[in-house]
């Protein structure tokens, strides 16, 4: 099992591969159903809910940790436009920062991940920032 101590500032700048995700109508509907999101456009599967990019899961080489020891501290998404059914989004995630802080539960590692998604013409659709806390 990987130990959080394996995450160091040497990882800053490391990136995932570019992955193309297709926004599927069924996936939007399933997501809206799980959330009990009643936004009509989301229930129909036309427009993805704002947090839908969480379904775009990618890995960064060298960035591994024990899932049971990670807390999601914060999340931000910025949108140029909503994601729609049929969109093909080119996504990449990179390590924006890694640092240690003394917290209530002892020393913790903060991992900041930056993600972005562009459409087929190369225009930015959304970007996101994840703060993960490893104890």
């Amino acid at each position: 099992m990987d130990h959080p101590a394996a995450l160091t500032s040497e990882l800053i700048g490391r990136e995932s591969e570019v992955v193309v995700f297709e926004v599927e109508r069924g996936a939007i509907r399933k997501f809206a159903d799980a959330v009990q999101d009643q936004t009509p456009e989301c229930v129909r599967g036309d427009i993805a809910p704002p947090t839908f990019p969480t379904t775009f899961r990618m890995t960064i080489p060298g960035v591994t940790f024990d899932l049971a020891r990670v807390l999601h501290g914060a999340q931000e998404y910025r949108y140029e436009r909503p994601l729609r059914a049929g969109d093909r989004v080119r996504c990449r995630v990179r390590v924006a920062n890694v640092y240690r802080r003394q917290g209530r539960l002892g020393e913790m590692t903060f991992l900041i991940l930056a993600m972005d998604g562009t459409d087929e013409s190369g225009s930015l659709v959304f970007s996101g920032t994840t703060t993960a806390i490893l104890r």
Partner: protein, 142 residues
């Protein structure tokens, strides 16, 4: 469900309190469905035994589920085409049986040629009125 339509509310300005959106109680079934729909299979959200091995009393909800509630809230307020930003901090744990209510207020309103941009303070609170997820949203309305 039809929202209150911020576009039709030019009176909303700094400090205006927004209508709230009460979500149904969170169930273990919902957490299993959210795990499948989101791809977050961390077992602390779906398996009590795993949750106990890390010192929890039982499973806790995905933080992202409460953020999804706030995403729905902002769409309900302003329409899904209008959302430009949603940013949250996860401050308290949410457990099955908790009932979250999304609330908000206007922080800032800027009006330009194309329409208005509103900065909203939004949060989800539980049945004990504890804020569990706190954040900000930005919407553009024409």
């Amino acid at each position: 469900m039809t929202g209150p339509s911020l576009a039709a509310r030019p009176d909303l300005d700094r400090g205006s309190v927004l209508p709230d959106l009460r979500k149904p109680p969170i169930t273990k079934m919902q957490l299993v469905k959210y795990a499948g729909a989101s791809g977050d299979y961390n077992l602390i959200h779906t398996d009590d035994e795993t949750a106990r091995t890390v010192g929890l009393d039982g499973v806790i909800a995905h933080g992202m589920l409460s953020m999804a509630f706030l995403g729905e809230y902002v769409c309900w307020l302003a329409g899904p085409e209008s959302v430009r930003r949603l940013s949250v901090r996860f401050v308290e744990m949410v457990r099955p049986g908790d009932t979250l209510t999304c609330r908000g207020r206007v922080k800032e309103r800027t009006t330009g040629n194309a329409g208005s941009r509103l900065q909203l303070e939004v949060w989800a609170e539980n049945q004990r009125a504890e804020r569990v997820t706190i954040g900000e949203a930005e919407v553009e309305i024409t």
